[in-house]
């Protein structure tokens, strides 16, 4: 009895072991040892900012695909790009450091509440109900879907408006992909000017709901000597490359031209903070339509 069980167990174990060892020879798959090295060089945040599923997926791609540049990891920044370039023998290329930016100042604009929302406290959930509780359909809903998504703890909510810490932001872009209203954008850290509004509505509709929103008058587009500003979909698009390349000689004429002070110079430390002083020329008589009334 004992002999039989011992023989059977050992026999089965031996058979499976031999099958497995033969199989491991026959079915061996060559794996590139460099993948592990490159993966180690990456920050391991697995944030997906590079456009791949995770750090390992990016490492595999950058090694095997000649079209994948070594500088796609935004969480790692220039140092990691350099290291990956060394390991893969690819040219590092320029990495423009980016930062997340919030195109909305609904507090300044005194955007009214359309209705009192009492559902699931997520932006995505609130947006399902007539575009969210704010009178402006393009404002920050402020339930912080982005804050929860940010892997680097770089965002917080104050006054139902999201704030971003440029020091902590790695420009992974997770928040940009998360925000259901599309009001977050990645811009170069060096960027000079930015629009604090993301409304796609026509001028009149914006005026009705917000004292600070962009009315797409196009004055800045005409004045900009670098041709860096355009209006697409009633929303201002800034070509930061062209803007930076033109240099300071324009004296940021767009900022002084904008009748609503919604194009503003950016200080690197305060990319998302509203300026200290209230813009002087917001027309006093503009009033906000209160749909609750």
């Amino acid at each position: 009895m004992i002999a039989e069980s011992v023989v059977t167990l050992f026999g089965l174990g031996f058979v499976s072991a031999s099958i497995l060892s033969v199989a491991s020879r026959l079915l061996a798959v060559e794996e590139d040892p460099r993948i592990e090295v490159v993966t180690e060089a990456l920050p391991g945040a697995n944030c997906g900012g590079c456009g791949f599923a995770g750090c390992e997926a990016y490492a595999t791609a950058v090694l095997n695909d000649p079209n994948v540049p070594p500088n796609r990891c935004c969480a790692g920044g220039p140092d990691v790009a350099k290291r990956v370039a060394e390991l893969t023998g690819k040219a590092a290329g320029e990495v423009e450091p980016m930062v997340a930016f919030r195109r909305c100042v609904k507090v300044e604009g005194k955007v009214a509440h359309k209705y009192d929302y009492a559902g699931a406290t997520t932006c995505a959930g609130a947006k399902l109900l007539d575009g969210g509780p704010d009178a402006c359909r393009y404002s920050c809903i402020g339930f912080g879907d982005c804050v929860r998504a940010c892997p680097f703890d770089a965002m917080w909510i104050e006054d139902h408006l999201v704030h971003i810490s440029p020091a902590k932001c790695t420009s992974c872009g997770t928040c940009v992909r998360t925000c259901p209203n599309g009001i977050l954008e990645l811009i170069p850290r060096r960027a000079r000017v930015m629009v604090f509004c993301s409304s796609k509505d026509k001028g009149k509709a914006v005026k009705d709901v917000c004292e600070a929103g962009c009315i797409s008058c196009g004055a800045c587009v005409k004045k900009c000597p670098a041709k860096a500003i355009a209006i697409e979909d009633n929303r201002i698009v800034i070509d930061h490359k062209a803007c930076l390349a033109y240099g300071p000689s324009c004296e940021e004429i767009c900022v002084t031209t904008c009748p609503r002070s919604i194009l503003r110079c950016l200080q690197p430390e305060t990319v998302s903070a509203p300026p200290e002083t209230e813009p002087a020329h917001i027309p006093e008589e503009t009033h906000v339509v209160d749909l609750n009334a």
Partner: protein, 191 residues
């Protein structure tokens, strides 16, 4: 008709997860997204069917003639572990895309008690080879159904704010319990 009954009872009434509570770790671990749940369910189906057939043959042609029934658990575990290893190597070489999508779940299945559970259950119920084969398919379809349903529900949790203490596994376990209760209703179907 018998086969129909076998399927219905294995999928709905005696669901391996919700009525027999086997294989709960992948059920909770891999049910956050539907695509992942489907991948896991498919991998389990594949392994359960293969393992059931092989353990059936071993039981019948090695263990029964030598009266080694008491070694059942250890031998089945050994066979299943080796089998999963082999399947993993085989897929990696022969069907890389499938391996990629199942890759991380395959080794997990080695320690999935649902696999061992089905292998032992068909012996207890004294099924023949053909019925065991069908039963293993039905049982893993039950697993697939439960895990995909669960993933569908848990995907909704994204738009709800749960209290911190309920996030993740706790809410998953509560959900599993409620679903288990819901599946009890099927008991009345087959009297």
């Amino acid at each position: 008709m018998d086969i129909f009954l076998l399927f219905i009872s294995a999928i709905f009434v005696n669901n391996i997860l919700l009525a027999q509570y086997l294989g709960n770790c992948p059920y909770l671990g891999c049910s956050k997204e539907k695509s992942v749940a489907i991948g896991m369910g498919a991998a389990v189906l594949f392994v359960i069917v293969l393992a059931t057939v092989i353990t059936f043959l071993i039981q019948k042609y090695i263990m029964n003639p030598f009266q080694l029934g008491y070694l059942q658990t250890i031998i089945f575990i050994l066979v299943i572990a080796a089998l999963v290893q082999f399947v993993e190597m085989f897929l990696k070489k022969m069907v890389p895309p499938l391996y990629k999508s199942l890759g991380i779940y395959l080794p997990l299945i080695t320690t999935n008690c649902a696999v061992l559970g089905v292998a032992i259950l068909v012996q207890r119920k004294e099924f023949d080879l053909w019925t065991s084969f069908l039963y293993s398919i039905a049982a893993s379809l039950g697993f697939l159904l439960a895990i995909v349903l669960m993933a569908g529900i848990r995907e909704r949790f994204v738009v709800t704010r749960l209290p911190r203490s309920m996030q993740g596994v706790p809410s998953g376990l509560v959900m599993a319990g409620i679903m288990s209760l819901a599946f009890l209703a099927f008991k009345g179907m087959i009297a």
